[in-house]
Amino acid sequence: MRPIRVLVAKPGLDGHDRGAKVIARALRDAGMEVIYTGLRQTVDQIVNAAIEEDVDCIAVSILSGAHNTLLPKIAERLKEENAEDILFVGGGVIPDDDIPFLKENGISAIFTPGTPTTVTIDYIKANVRK
């Protein structure tokens, strides 16, 4: 069986990568191939990496409060590249009232602080393109 490939990225300028690294390890331990891109990723860098790596899922972590600006832009660029079949999820300090807006704008799921990694793993397994 082929492993699920996931791009784990940190968009924007925030440097808190504990969450991104923990989720990267958890996904690896769940048998996935994780492409980790590090800090300060621009929208173009994320979308381009996702395409070249032919990932099944993009998982971004953002704690700076710039989510309403940056996440919809990623979704938009994916659409432009005809790559909206890639599952797109996000996590971090994101207020509940922002989640509907993000979901309307192409982000499939948002995982807020305290979400067990198993919840994220199960979600990805159940929702990536088959």
């Binding site: 492993p3 048998g31 191939e33 980790y36 891109t37 590090g38 621009t42 070249e52």
Partner: protein
Amino acid sequence: MDLVERLFAGDKRACARLISHVENNVNGVNEDLKKIYKETGKAYVIGITGPPGSGKSTLTDKLVKLLRKEGKKIGIIAVDPTSPFTGGAILGDRVRMGDLNTDNGVFIRSMGARGHLGGLSDATSAAVTVLDAYGCEYIFLETVGVGQSEVEVMKRADTTLMVMVPGLGDDIQAIKAGVMEIGNVFAVNKSDRDGAKRTKREIDMMLDFSKKDWRPSVTLVSALKDENVDILLEKIFEHRNYLLESNLYHLERKANVKNEILALVRKEIMERVINNDEKHQLLDELSHKVALRIENPYTASEIIIEELKK
């Protein structure tokens, strides 16, 4: 348009998808590879290997930037280890190639060294073919580590760059057997560190024993500070010129292709056994008997070969 047509048209997604098909051994991928093969052979393949932490990705990043100044289209395949327990992997080479990421003239692909049926070298080799067809003029094939599987992967490279760092101590001794031979060009990275010159001397001494016609050079570089990377690139070109002038280029390619064909034959035979219920069952029964010492593996393989002939 099908994948191959899109690939030839320079469609990035098609290129990425074809590499996935190669990696996952998707049905029909060989048909696609057949279609593209005659269009390949134009790319120059540079292998980069060396122990973990030697700075291969940063060095690749800097070498690629030099080639990009000349407008060359580049492909990079970076292989990282896969966990033998979960099959998962963290592929982190892109972190050190941040600027190249959005450069449309560079295609980067990370690969897990996962249990490919034909072996890792099979998958990387086919991925190189795809990038070649995509129009990459230089393809960097980067592996981490210094084991036998790296040696196999590096056979696909025209020139192999071995990256070392000071402070490995006895490790140089340990890895020289069978692995040092694959290096056509050597670099001692992190040259500002203590012991860099000593490491260079040790490698030089070891290379002096080699009786081969080509004597690899050893260059002190600092990838992080971008020092001497241009000289290193020249050394790589020197090796390429040597290959071209001495007709070795063709001979080595022929030898490598021979290996590749053999690997495909092996893979095909294995697939015919594994993917056929009847034969798979026979294999299972024979294994059972061999384990109980009722049968031996040599006769068992003969039985299977006979069965395949039918």
